[in-house]
Symmetry: C2
Amino acid sequence: MAARSNVTIADVAREAGVSTQTVSRVLNNKGEISPETRRLVSEVIQRLGYRPNSVARSLVTRRTLSLGLVVPDITNPFFPEIARGAEDTALAAGYSVFLCNTTEQAEREVAVLRLLEEKRVDGVVVCSARLPDDQLVPLLRRQRTVVLVNRIVPEGAAGVVRVDDADGTRQAVRHLIGGGRQRLAMLAGPPSSWGGRERLRGFREALRAADLAVDPELIVACPPYLEGGAHAARRVFLSGQAVDGLVCYNDLVAIGALQACRDLGVRVPEDVAVVGCDDILLASLVTPPLTTIRVSKYDIGASAVRLLLDRIATPRREAAEIVIRPALVARASTPEPDSAAETAAPTRPAAGGAAAGPPAAQAGNERG
Amino acid sequence: MAARSNVTIADVAREAGVSTQTVSRVLNNKGEISPETRRLVSEVIQRLGYRPNSVARSLVTRRTLSLGLVVPDITNPFFPEIARGAEDTALAAGYSVFLCNTTEQAEREVAVLRLLEEKRVDGVVVCSARLPDDQLVPLLRRQRTVVLVNRIVPEGAAGVVRVDDADGTRQAVRHLIGGGRQRLAMLAGPPSSWGGRERLRGFREALRAADLAVDPELIVACPPYLEGGAHAARRVFLSGQAVDGLVCYNDLVAIGALQACRDLGVRVPEDVAVVGCDDILLASLVTPPLTTIRVSKYDIGASAVRLLLDRIATPRREAAEIVIRPALVARASTPEPDSAAETAAPTRPAAGGAAAGPPAAQAGNERG
DNA sequence: CTGTTAGCGCATTCAT
DNA sequence: ATGAATGCGCTAACAG
């Protein structure tokens, strides 16, 4: 019956013949209340269809039980799972989450951060912030608590969840070398991306570790999308360099590269092996299925919110960091590794879990 | 400098030597204010780093400038674009949006709807609600304003944005028949899905319109995911029926079917033609690229929020409905249509627009 | 053009 | 175990 809840705690109190305080107590299970009045009040609440007004509640408690999740673009296949992980974790703790797309625009990053501030959210998870430090940090300081994903800021103003991207590309390079490849190129994504720089660092380190030269011409930046990858791959092939392996910024770039290969008649993996990064759903479905560096995106989102809630509960100024370790998933876009080389690769078999992802993390991903 | 905003309107007022009311006025551009005091107040606001507390504001204005977006699972490739369209539109109007995943569970659908109610959001967009009418409708009535996506409820309690699913499968069937196919099966998705039933209806109607029999054995329900499609396709093929065309509930199901075909050595499109639905990114990237029924998901989200904001601005009880018309995108998973048959197909050439999705044409579909 | 008085719906503090 | 008073930060009436 009761339509839009205009019913207030005062209405309930009057109807039940008690004070508003008593109603508030049964709502929040606080203080001792006689079972009898509790029953009575509950019954009236039910009958009137009363729902507490969390706006009023927030004003006095100074907690909104709301979080902000800032992502560049939920349409980018990397972020939906993060969002799921974040929302599941938040909801389980009674929090709701505002989803904010920045569409990769600095101004909108500023705008949503301001908006979240006015909303007085209890905390914010910011993914892949593009803003430079001098603009970002002041904005973050104004938030109640912050967790950054894949971005480091100078001071410990925020908790951090990050993927060990450098380690990921290191694994990729080792895998390719293990498969007999020697002339590797990297389609490095946008230079502005912190993760991209890390991946590039891992690429360089792994090459050096294998006593292979790092040819600057074989490191090409590109937009992190299909076309970016296709374009960059074409440039590499048409440059006349003898490349036999491609390490890519992410799966979209890698799949773009795959398309370029098909267009140019380059066979994968016979002529060129391709490794992606992220293991988005697409990766396993393209032809050939893409070898890639998997990172549990659900886990990133869940960890970020867990860390956030932890810091909300017990505020600390020190920085906390959670590192998510990626793992290589070998598929058909790269050759089988020579058995000798590969068995040497997994230095710390325990760390990141095997390529067969951790069950708990996957559970969140399952559909229906 | 100013850290977490404890600064209130009173602080600003005191510092500027005016009343809180005056500050409020410059914040909201209300009433006439002398340019001088406006400048003064603005300067103090700036200096103190004051940010209005929207919680307090909402308590008195009874508007939160927040919306809820309820989706089954943001991880399902169908929803991120809807979310983007919704968020873009909301943000442009000064609204923020709570993202809520129901994970296809009835209880969680109830839970998030209750939560949004307590948050006093100004409106809710609910996508593909799974709850039965008798549970859903009461919950919706408690919301301020509601727009439903791909779900109809008896009374005009909500605005509706829906895809003309029946028309979509009708197009698919005509396309297949135009390509010379006669024995069509439908992988129909979950029977509980309203859209699924519509698509099935379109399938039946189009077959009848072409004087083809509808074989109940060739209509198989399945979970709306890859495995569901693969499994269902296998069942169809192994049943011994001579099928030469597959109309699928959505692209994931279709891609699952593609995998089953590959596994069973069935050639696509030579032996069997396959049509998906939705045109998710994947569809164009699998092998062979998937012919599918495209619907502008961004537009669904944007239209839903536009309709919602419209109803928030001027509440009405009558139902409003926006119908989004899908369009067939022909790719390699279906044969080229016989020219004769195909030219006959587009009865109303203006309606759905060409396969190359027109940007503005979508707007033309609305009937506010 | 500006200040004063109220009160939004609730939880917190102190009484009883 | 319950009630009364107070105020969270802000805007909506009315003054002036």
